[in-house]
């Protein structure tokens, strides 16, 4: 049983991003780039399923610029068997990525597709659901527990107010939430080994997908700054301020 796992190259979650003063975008020049944290969880989950003997092969896919090869190597260092880069310089929006992944699902016929629930740059939370809809596959988003048995996936999801469990026919699409697992650190030998794993490159045109952006970004600005207030010396002052100044209690 094969799994396809999508990984995105994003600005590292520790980087404090800077908005360009002219409103044209976010300045990422020289910023550290890493694998989207939710996608790391997705790779880890697939690798664990392989270690349990549920999966036979884990294929990592990334869509974007040539540097996404680093992200694929990182996925292979965690344990993915091979990588596919869909290479393009075009700004990819979720619908385009979902279409690219759909084309690869048609080609590779995985039983399981695992993606992060959202990327920490665009915060869209769309690609997995779009892929499921386009491919006509069942979906379980925001997964915190995944069990595969008898041709079905039983997935516990983090939902507003608690947890919910769904049973899906395979093949299926799963998106990961934070508590699904804790990704391992890639060891040096595994990082070395990842360098010789197969990595194919295809283009959107070869997959027959039009990736032109649908949404036009007019400008990107900093949010209204919230300025620091005051420090209060004690509880009595705090309560007085909340009652008389802020009038919230």
């Amino acid at each position: 049983m094969k799994a396809l796992v999508a990984v995105k190259r994003v600005v590292d979650f520790n980087v404090k991003i800077r908005v360009k003063p002219d409103g044209s975008g976010v300045d990422l020049a020289g910023a550290k780039m890493s694998m989207n944290p939710f996608d790391e969880i997705a790779i880890e989950e697939a690798v664990r399923l392989k270690e349990k003997g549920v999966l036979s092969e884990v294929i990592a896919v990334s869509c974007g610029v040539g540097a996404c090869k680093d992200t694929l190597r990182a996925a292979m260092a965690i344990g993915a068997d091979r990588g596919i880069l869909v290479e393009t310089d075009v700004e990819l929006q979720p619908l385009a990525v979902a279409k690219l992944l759909k084309a690869l699902v048609d080609r590779e016929q995985p039983q399981l597709v695992i993606l992060g629930k959202q990327a920490i740059d665009g915060d869209c939370n769309q690609t997995g659901q779009m892929l499921a809809a386009l491919a006509g596959l069942p979906q379980a988003t925001f997964a915190s527990k995944v069990e595969i048995a008898d041709g079905r996936a039983t997935v516990t999801r983090e939902v507003d107010g608690g947890l919910e469990t769904l049973r899906l026919t395979l093949p299926a699409v799963i998106t990961t939430d934070l508590r699904l697992n804790e990704p391992r650190y890639a060891t040096l030998p595994n990082i070395m080994k990842a360098k010789s794993k197969p990595l194919d490159t295809v283009t959107p045109a070869q997959l027959g997908v039009d990736v032109a952006p649908r949404l036009r970004t007019i400008r990107i600005v900093e949010p209204a700054k919230r300025s620091a207030g005051i420090k209060v010396p004690d509880i009595a002052t705090l309560i007085a301020k909340l009652k008389n100044e802020a009038k919230v209690i």
């Binding site: 600005v11 979650f13 991003i17 976010v26 939710f38 979720p94 619908l95 979902a98 920490i120 740059d121 665009g122 915060d123 869209c124 939370n125 659901q129 779009m130 892929l131 809809a133 069942p138 979906q139 379980a140 988003t141 983090e158 939902v159 507003d160 107010g161 608690g162 947890l163 919910e164 469990t165 769904l166 049973r167 899906l168 299926a172 934070l178 508590r179 649908r214 949404l215 036009r216 970004t217 007019i218 990107i220 900093e222 949010p223 919230r226 620091a228 207030g229 005051i230 420090k231 209060v232 004690d234 509880i235 009595a236 705090l238 309560i239 301020k241 909340l242 802020a246 919230v248 209690i249």
Partner: protein
């Protein structure tokens, strides 16, 4: 032909509609001139009636079937899709349910989705936060149908009463058979719902254990009639349940008062609460980033300060 009719996909529990639906109705009224609400559920007439009373709603479409009982994405998306040709906008609240289904609808219509909209600038232009709210993007859509998820905290809730919409029954779509509901664990308590609470008391890793988390923060939440929240660090450490997490990838809240106890205030946490009207931070680390956005900061050990606060209230 472009139509300015708006479909809001209601989030409900079959007997009432959730507040996020009413926030979404307000966003819908900013997009177009005629707002319809879809209530897809099982034995959900009470929810449909509640939707019909919401101010500003002109029609409620009610689809009722067992296949719609649990809000399964495949079935709900198909139900929305069947209505899509009549609308220029399809809006969902950006809740776990709306986020689950909206992209399916957008993909099947071959249009982009605009996630987490915080402002409707014009009929085709919207503002949405990106990078954990550290930037606000203004985006323009030329798609014939705009599929949108609405950040509930960014729009006032439409009044629950005052509307007199008609209710139109719909044929429910057939079950896809692709997914099945197994079970749901939803914590029940008397507290207000975190996402819509007027006051939120939130705790961080400094609480040290799930017992202490509850022992220290529950009395304060009880006294204030507040919801309880937590930082990701506290949730990851097992001190608080998953659905209490406030932050970029958890709940986005904007209460009148947010009391952060022992929370350092990483940018990912701030993304979930910085639109609160008043922020109080209690932390013994004078350099904690939470103080940079707090209206009132108290530099103190929360284990001393919180019980004192409870006693003094």
């Amino acid at each position: 032909m472009t139509t300015r009719k708006v479909l809001v996909v209601a989030e409900h529990d079959h007997v009432s509609i959730r507040m996020a639906t009413r926030n979404t109705v307000t966003a819908a009224l900013a997009c177009g001139d005629e707002v319809h609400v879809l209530v897809a559920g099982d034995n959900a007439s009470e929810a449909a009636q509640a939707a019909a009373r919401v101010h500003g709603v002109s029609k409620v479409l009610h689809a009722d079937a067992l296949s719609l009982a649990e809000g399964l994405a495949e079935n709900l998306a198909a139900q929305v899709l069947a209505l899509a040709p009549h609308y220029g906008y399809i809006l969902f609240p950006a809740t776990s349910s709306g986020k689950n289904v909206a992209p399916c609808v957008a993909a099947l219509l071959d249009v982009a989705q605009i996630s987490d909209v915080v402002r409707v600038v014009s009929s085709d232009t919207f503002e949405r936060p990106i990078y954990a709210g550290n930037a606000i993007a203004t985006v323009q859509s030329s798609d014939p149908v705009k599929v949108i998820t609405v950040r509930p905290t960014a729009f006032d809730a439409a009044s629950a009463e005052g509307g007199t919409a008609c209710i139109e029954p719909l044929d429910a779509v057939a079950d896809s058979g692709l997914s099945a509901f197994v079970e749901r664990f939803v914590a029940t308590n008397d507290r207000p719902e975190l996402a819509g609470a007027r006051i939120v008391v939130s705790g961080g890793r400094a609480l040290g254990s799930s017992e202490k988390f509850l022992d220290v923060l529950t009395p304060l939440a009880d006294k204030l009639g507040a919801a309880l929240g937590a930082s990701r660090a506290a949730v990851d450490a097992g001190y608080a349940p998953n659905d209490w997490q406030v932050g970029q990838t958890g709940k986005i809240v904007a209460p009148q008062l947010y009391i952060a106890c022992g929370i350092s205030g990483a940018i990912q946490h701030q993304a979930g609460m910085k639109d609160s009207r008043v922020i109080v931070a209690i932390n013994k680390d004078p350099d904690a980033p939470i103080f940079e956005i707090a209206d009132y900061g108290l530099e103190a050990d929360l284990f001393d300060a919180v019980p004192q606060l409870v006693a003094a209230l």
